[in-house]
């Protein structure tokens, strides 16, 4: 039993390493080749865990090989459009100028029900509202609404807006995120001045978020109750 446990831990570490090597793309939407590798890795990893007759290397070698091939192929597809088309395919326009492209739907083996379901997932319940719909290589449907159906934005209203940038987490549970501080273009001095202004010590801050304009939100740590103490 202990052998199985050790094998499981080793393969778990290997799979975490593999996923890290494959990068963040792997965790989000999967391309066909990535899907194949993910399914194969999960299957291969279980074999040497279950069957101690199989050498551990017989499980490790294919996993490392698959990950390496995947990274090499993704590097090749980054450089070559032909390779990218071959491995991942191309996005397909299923609705163009408000017209459903039936030939494309047939090629994709996408039924009308599938199309409507994918549109509903995008909060579109009426085909008339769609100007363009594209099935991406990941199988996800992306929709571009007709101009009359587009949500109103400050730009469409010709309103002047200030670009403040998003909020980044600057302090997380008493620890300063230096990278986030760089993102919002602020210094340690600025952070110290905020803490001084709020009369808080660094260790007592649960979350501090800020944007480039210097707007911030500070949430202090909750004091422990006598029971917790």
């Amino acid at each position: 039993m202990f052998v199985v446990l050790i094998r499981t831990l080793l393969l778990y570490a290997l799979i975490i390493f593999s996923i890290r090597i494959m990068g963040k793309r792997q965790i989000g939407e999967l391309q066909p080749s990535e899907l194949v590798v993910t399914i194969m890795i999960s299957n291969i990893a279980t074999l040497p865990i279950e069957d101690t007759n199989i050498p551990l290397l017989a499980g490790i070698t294919p996993i490392i090989a698959l990950v390496s091939i995947e990274v090499i192929i993704s590097a090749v597809t980054l450089k070559s459009i032909k390779a990218r088309t071959m491995v991942s395919g191309t996005p397909r326009v299923v609705i163009c100028n408000g017209q459903v492209n039936q030939n494309e739907l047939k090629k994709l083996r996408f039924s009308v029900d599938d199309l409507m379901e994918a549109l509903r997932a995008k909060d579109v319940f009426d085909l008339d509202k769609v100007e363009t719909a594209i099935v991406e290589t990941t199988g996800k449907l992306n929709v571009y609404l007709k101009a009359s159906e587009q949500p109103v934005t400050p730009a469409t209203m010709n309103l002047q807006t200030e670009e403040k940038g998003p909020h980044f987490i600057i302090i997380h549970d008493g620890s300063v995120m230096k990278e986030s501080l760089n993102h919002v273009q602020k210094s340690d001095k600025w952070l110290q001045s905020i803490l001084k202004k709020e009369k808080r010590e660094l260790k007592n801050v649960f979350i501090l978020t800020a944007n480039r304009c210097g707007d911030y939100i500070l949430i202090p740590k909750q004091q422990k109750t006598s029971k917790e103490k």
Binding site: N53, I54, P55, L57, A58, T61, A65, S68, E70, V71
Partner: protein, 126 residues
């Protein structure tokens, strides 16, 4: 780019290690076959003392190789060889011709199978 270099490096290591393993298995199988063939001939010729000595040599040789072979080949083959190699000196010391030659033949077949399974040929791939 770093990921790409790591991947290319890992592929190179895997390829080199696979070739290394193949050569290692080939050497061990060839040496084992030679030793077993000699034991078989001695047993058939009735020279049980020499065959006994060689069988104990084969057993200790196999025990040494097993620690590396366990990383490469399926473990049940190793268990079979270890069991049969342990029996062989006993059969030879009792001058049991039929049992000893049968055991040597079994060992030869297992060693052959190991090498056949490792070879990157049509039969083992498909």
């Amino acid at each position: 780019m770093r990921r790409l270099y790591i991947s290319i490096g890992m592929m190179a290591v895997i390829t080199a290690a696979s070739i290394g393993c193949l050569l290692y298995v080939h050497i061990v199988c060839t040496e084992s076959e030679q030793m077993l063939q000699e034991i078989y001939e001695d047993a058939v010729n009735g020279d049980f003392d020499t065959a006994y000595e060689k069988s104990t040599q084969f057993y200790s040789y196999w025990i040494k190789q097993e620690s590396t072979m366990i990383l490469i080949i399926r473990h049940y083959h190793l268990d079979e060889i270890r069991t049969n190699a342990a029996k062989l000196p006993e059969y030879l010391s009792c001058q049991n011709n039929a049992e000893s030659t049968a055991t040597v033949k079994t060992l030869l077949t297992i060693v052959e199978t190991i090498w056949q399974e490792e070879q990157p040929v049509f039969r083992s791939i498909f």
